[in-house]
Symmetry: C2
Subunit: 266 residues, 2 copies
């Protein structure tokens, strides 16, 4: 694969920086982002003068701002390019991108980002795009958790879930997650497109953003608690639709198997 597209596997981060002008990154969380952009050692920032980093991970706005500051110090540029879509869209080059950072950096990389996306918008300074991304995922996660409750209770009351999903789709209960996750919840198909662990992380980011504002977010908090419960139950790698495991009758994490104490040889 690497050969056929002319790619090279690098052993160290600074080799990536040395070999490219524009570098796209996408990592799991703040910790990983801080590590690849650490100020010392063979990080992406070593020898990065004049380079452009396009950072696509969904992480906290504060970390995007910190990374921009560190990059600026060594003469590099950064842009956050938050993706509000999933694996399928990435493969097809039809991502929905929300960008934050300096406007001139955005203008510079716009042609590349257009190739990756079907829709793209500049939101504002560093941190602003990831704020919007966190708000999107916060609301998406709430709708997902709520849908799992509606379908779960419907199942418990003996309703035909195909009928119920159809009624939901035609009424005030309709939502994008009903389209993307409703049938998966019914069929218990939780192959991962966007993991429950990532849903927990993103709701957590939104709640952190909210803290200084003093805005009350009881629904976001209840949703965060549900996705944390999935993590605690060892279900973090299921798709976010796997939250149905917490609300459908007869489902749910299996009780942890208690290991039999090994028999001592006599």
């Amino acid at each position: 694969m690497a050969d056929s597209v002319g790619a090279v596997a690098c052993g160290h981060l600074d080799e990536v920086t040395a070999r490219a002008e524009w570098i796209l990154t996408i990592v799991t969380d703040d910790r990983a982002m801080n590590q690849i952009f650490r100020s010392s050692g063979r990080s992406l920032l070593k020898g990065a003068k004049g380079k452009v980093f396009i950072n696509c991970a969904t992480i906290s706005p504060a970390t995007h701002i910190k990374v921009e500051e560190r990059a600026t110090k060594v003469g590099a540029s950064t842009l956050e390019a938050c993706m509000a879509s999933s694996i399928t869209q990435a493969r097809e080059g039809t991502l929905y991108l929300m960008c934050g950072g300096r406007k001139n950096t955005y203008k510079k990389v716009e042609p590349l980002l257009k190739d990756l996306s079907s829709s793209m918008r500049y939101i504002g300074a560093a941190g602003k795009a990831s704020e919007v991304k966190a708000l999107v995922n916060m609301v998406m996660n709430i709708n997902t958790a709520g849908l799992a409750e509606g379908l779960g209770l419907g199942a418990a009351l003996g309703h035909d879930l195909t009928m119920l999903r159809e009624v939901f789709s035609q009424t005030g209960a309709n939502s994008r997650v009903l389209e993307t996750d409703g049938e998966d919840m019914q069929l218990r198909d939780h192959a991962c497109y966007f993991s429950a662990g990532h849903a927990a992380k993103d709701s957590g980011i939104a709640l952190s953003m909210a803290k200084p504002t003093k805005i009350a977010l009881p629904l976001a908090q209840a949703t965060y608690a549900q996705y944390q419960a999935m993590e605690q139950a060892g279900l973090a790698d299921l798709d976010k639709s796997g939250i149905a495991e917490l609300t459908f009758p007869g489902r749910g994490p299996k009780k942890a198997k208690t290991k039999k104490a090994p028999q001592k040889k006599r």
Copy 2:
């Protein structure tokens, strides 16, 4: 108005029954439903033999079942015809109706209901349609409360809410309530189509239905608490979109004015 459509204002409920073959009812809650269908006195059930009651209120499934039992005793029929739409659709005859009760009663009144609706479906025995209706409103209320949190936090962080609603509409945060209530939340326009008080009632019905099933519904509970908070703050008559009063910066119920203790005449 009454004259021009040939209507007569009746002083007692049994006069309504005497004057019509098919009687449509729509009342606020279980208490009102029990009152118009009480077993004694001049209720709708007096002299009701052979009559058909079509009951459109969103009330608890248990009450629909009780009303059917009482009606059957006096030789009348009932059908629940739960409406998943609002005032505009009622005026235009384009309601979304979900029906519950005996199938032969449904067949009998089908032509009339078709005149009132653009979509109609038979769900099952008495109580079953109102279960589905309660599930629809439970999920709708969750999505509404979640949207109010997303837009409220967005406002607190200084984002342009027209931009934010557009991003929501193009991503996993999209929902029917974003279409119907998002702009109203932004503009603080809470003229009532579906009241916060009714939202509280319906989430409460769903939670009561859930009790015997032991299904955990933390999102539905948090939503119920929010709509109850609106009631307690005197905001029950606002549209359900008025839940934004609880999550937008600088909004919210005014602090109750403390009455000055009247000065005693000396």
